[in-house]
Symmetry: C2
Subunit: 106 residues, 2 copies
DNA sequence: ATTATGCGCAACTAGATGGTTGCCTTATTG
DNA sequence: CAATAAGGCAACCATCTAGTTGCGCATAAT
């Protein structure tokens, strides 16, 4: 019953440099194994695994077992939630601002 | 020398339900005092203060001392960083996808 | 002048988080 | 079959985090 991850969880998942880099890394559409993702990093494979679990928990990434390796691919859908939230706040802010401006000019 | 907060810090600041609510709350353009922001919440004023410090650290909020009260206002600029990051990843993902599609159709 | 309100500071707690190491299982490859 | 590479699991550790309480200090309000 994988319920949809909260917006909060998505933000939290992206609130870490390592995870942010992982997402960027996977944005090219090429799924990558844990070992591949670990190479070029200074941390352990286990640490990378943990980060992937967090991203998976936020729905940002999905792992598919393929032989002996586990390849992870990006799932950009939760990014839509982020866009939506940011858009909503920005919009409300802007309209409040222009309302204030209209008040002053009057 | 307030250097610009990292994208990571902005995501992290928003990766908490309480903080997310605070930002939403301040989106109407009305600065609010700590006491006001605490009212309607189930946590202590001190807890709210801490959250505000985190948001301030991410540049999302600014406090102005006004008499005996400290009124906080939203600063939506860091949200631009979020938009940019998400946009970049989404865009790269989409173009990778359409490239793949073109490959298959050929 | 007193009282009440809004905050800041500091100490403390339980639990989450980021990281490590060691060991075991499962595929691949020679 | 033996050797190797990819991962999972679990224990452990240090640090961060979200929250609390208690206290003291200004700035209103009466």
């Amino acid at each position: 019953m994988r319920r949809r991850p909260t917006t909060e969880a998505v933000f939290a998942a992206l609130g870490d440099a390592t995870r942010l880099a992982l997402v960027s890394r996977l944005a090219d559409g090429q799924p990558a194994s844990i070992a591949e993702l670990t190479a070029g990093t200074r941390i352990t494979r286990q640490a990378v695994t943990k980060h992937l679990r967090v991203l998976e928990g936020a729905g940002l990434v999905r792992g598919v077992r393929c032989g002996r390796e586990n390849r992870f691919a990006l799932d950009p859908r939760p990014l839509g939630d982020v866009q939506e939230y940011v858009g909503r706040v920005s919009q409300e802010w802007d309209s409040a601002l222009s309302r204030l401006k209209a008040m002053v000019e009057e």
